[in-house]
Amino acid sequence: MEAYRDGNVKAFDQLYGRFKDILYRYLTRQISNPAIAEEIFQDSWTAIIKNRHKYSVKSKFKTYLFHIAHNKLIDFYRSKHNSKLDLISYDDNNEDLQDNEHLSISLDHKVDSLNKYNYLIELLNKLPAAQRDVFLMHEETGMTLIEIAQVMDVSRDTVKSRLKYALNKLRNDMGHLK
């Protein structure tokens, strides 16, 4: 990023090649509408480009990129016309769903790996956005709890709590396939 800031365009191409797919997947899994996901994807990278002179090496570039993308995602939730439910579900810290409650997806799945994956994605879509966010961020980027907390501007414990509830719900419902 520093090389690009100093005018090296090839450095940006390398950086983009490294992170474009994980960011794209994170956004498309978070938002069901691919057009909006692409728009946020483009906006995030454009913000990185425009603000390259403000970039300083305080944390990993991955954290910086996902912090910008995450903020844009939150903006989207807040600006969405009928976003009240989405926003509540994003900020909701799993009080609505108890650990032993299932995500009520009644599909006749065959137990093969592809169907397990599709089922997992469907379960993910049923999770509150905040929990889904933590799960996806870790799966796609391999970030630690502290790094995810930095991206989301929340405490490590909050991230851990969200992840715990997400994992419990997913495990419980995935257990039905066996």
Binding site: F12, Y16, Q42, Y117, L167
Partner: protein, 215 residues
């Protein structure tokens, strides 16, 4: 309760180490990639932003605005100073005009034509500044006596005015002849006639010797 918490923590640790079934299911799934048109678009934006053309345009803007401001200030300063300089010139001219008027008015032998000539020479300067203004200006701006004398001598060589009588009295015949010849060469006949009249006024017994015999 503690046992459940301990189990949860262990599960989270296991998950974070990518050692869980959920992670393996998720990682085996379809890995979508960003669309090529977006890749191209974003790379183009990055290239455009980093090209030297943009920086040169910024540099151009950097020097262009301050230079424009400096130029405007210079022009404004010049316009402020210029009228003050002209005021000074007007003051000097007005002082001379007053002196000449007084000198000519004391001469009783001057004819009507002489008075007309005098008006022609003086009026433009007087009309510029009313007597009240002249008075205030001369009060505001008094030249030292030596400088006034110098200005009078300088005005003697100017084509449209005669020096005061005190100076003309001291002139030698050669000076008279030289001055009149110069005026004749410059074809300022009326003024040269005035000089001739003045010469005979101060030197009634002498005779001017001019090449073209104008008397």
């Amino acid at each position: 309760m503690n046992e459940k918490k301990q189990t949860d923590d262990n599960q989270i640790e296991k998950y974070l180490d990518r050692n869980s079934e959920l992670s393996s299911i998720y990682s085996k799934g379809h890995k979508s990639c960003s669309p090529k048109h977006l890749d191209k678009l974003i790379k183009n934006i990055a290239r455009d932003e980093a090209t030297p053309q943009d920086t040169s345009r910024n540099k151009h803007n950097n020097w262009f605005i301050p230079t424009s401001i400096a130029a405007m200030l210079l022009v404004s300063l010049f316009l402020i100073i210029k009228p003050k300089h002209n005021d000074f010139k007007d003051q000097v001219a007005a002082t001379d005009a007053t002196r000449n008027t007084q000198a000519f008015s004391t001469e009783q032998q001057d004819t009507k034509s002489k008075q007309n000539i005098q008006q022609e020479k003086v009026t433009p300067l007087i009309t510029k500044n009313t007597p009240e203004k002249e008075a205030t200006k001369t009060k505001e701006f008094e030249l030292p006596s030596q400088l006034q004398q110098l200005l009078q001598n300088t005005n003697a060589s100017t084509p449209n005015q005669l020096p005061p009588d005190e100076i003309l009295k001291t002139w030698t015949q050669a000076q008279w002849e030289k001055q009149i010849k110069t005026l004749q060469i410059e074809k300022k006949d009326e003024l040269s006639k005035k000089y001739i009249k003045k010469f005979y006024y101060f030197n009634p017994n002498k005779k001017l010797i001019l090449s073209n015999n104008i008397k």
